[in-house]
């Protein structure tokens, strides 16, 4: 069987699609199995950034026209812009509300900053 350009491109596209789907599956398993909100947020970033970019790359290789590739690049750029904003807001609210397991933290760099108005502990930010 002769190796054509279309066959090679389809193989690369398929690898990208399978990789992105695997990252989405890993995020699903992480959402179910991880113990608290911050670690679930860690798992949630997988299909939001790398998995989505892999699948968009696979789709761009497979479609191949300039208009479609432009649309896919825009989708990736918008996702890269909006996903950190949402994650920042969720993480900030989670820390303020105490919705995380403190025993799972290796270090809490914001602990000193939260206590600093009463003057007990100067945090690492000062």
């Amino acid at each position: 069987m002769s190796v054509t350009v279309t066959g090679v491109l389809d193989a690369v596209s398929g690898i990208c699609l399978i990789g992105g789907a695997l990252l989405s599956l890993a995020a699903g398993v992480g959402l179910l199995r991880f113990p608290d909100l911050l670690s679930r947020m860690h798992a949630a970033t997988k299909p939001q950034v790398l998995g989505l970019l892999l699948i968009l790359a696979g789709t761009a290789i497979r479609l191949g026209t300039v208009v479609d590739i432009t649309t896919l690049v825009l989708v990736g750029v918008f996702q890269l812009v909006t996903a950190p904003v949402a994650a920042h807001m969720v993480g900030r609210t989670a820390y303020r509300a105490g919705l995380f397991r403190r025993d799972l933290l290796i270090t809490d760099e914001l602990a000193g900053a939260r206590r600093s108005p009463s003057g007990t502990a100067p945090g690492p930010q000062e």
Partner: protein
């Protein structure tokens, strides 16, 4: 290509199912928000996979809309589920806000401005022109770090304020049911160094 499409569809369906289980089980609202974001990302991946399988670009504008507006819902819910934001709109606590945060005191129903702005823009200072005199008469100046990213969090921290709620407990608006994650975090509050 059909094999690749079937395998990717199975993976994406399994991931979407697990995200749905997390949405149902919770335990807090923020867990559901994170799972909803993941479900949206999986939806975008699935539509792109379908476009790649059928070589049909019809679904690509849907992806554009989803990736633009997908984060708006989680940002809004996370913003208004913030316990510090609730305290900021409370008039009993607003006297203890620092004078460099006029946006916390003018906005009646929860502001959407950037409260971390170190240099306030001129329009906002015009609105809040009579404000520093009132705060000077009300409270002595507080030693608040204005420039740090958590400036309003430290200012709104109720350790030295007469807010009725203590610091770690204003989660009644957040969690809809007593969850095991919160209670586990409280019980192991002193076991910080067991993983180091």
């Amino acid at each position: 290509m059909i094999v690749i499409a079937v395998v990717a569809a199975v993976f994406l369906a399994a991931a979407a199912g697990m995200a749905l289980v997390r949405i149902v089980r919770g335990p807090s609202t923020l867990d559901r928000i994170v799972a909803t974001d993941v479900l949206l990302a999986i939806t975008v991946c699935a539509i792109a996979t379908e476009a790649a399988y059928s070589r049909d670009a019809t679904g690509l504008p849907i992806l554009l809309g989803l990736s633009l507006l997908g984060a708006v819902g989680s940002i809004a819910v996370a913003r208004f589920a913030d316990p510090a934001a609730k305290r900021a709109t409370d008039p009993a606590v607003s006297a203890f806000m620092p004078a460099t945060d006029p946006a916390l005191q003018d906005a009646p129903g929860g502001d959407t401005h950037d409260r971390h702005a170190a240099a306030p823009e001129p329009a906002r200072t015009d609105v809040a022109a009579p404000e520093p005199a009132r705060t000077d008469a009300a409270v002595p100046p507080l030693p608040v770090p204005v420039d740090s990213g958590l400036g309003d969090a430290t200012a709104a921290d109720p350790d030295d304020s007469p807010a009725p709620e203590p610091g770690a407990t204003p989660v009644t608006g957040i969690s809809s049911e007593p969850d095991e994650v919160l209670s586990a975090g409280r019980n192991h509050h002193s076991a910080n160094g067991d993983r180091s």
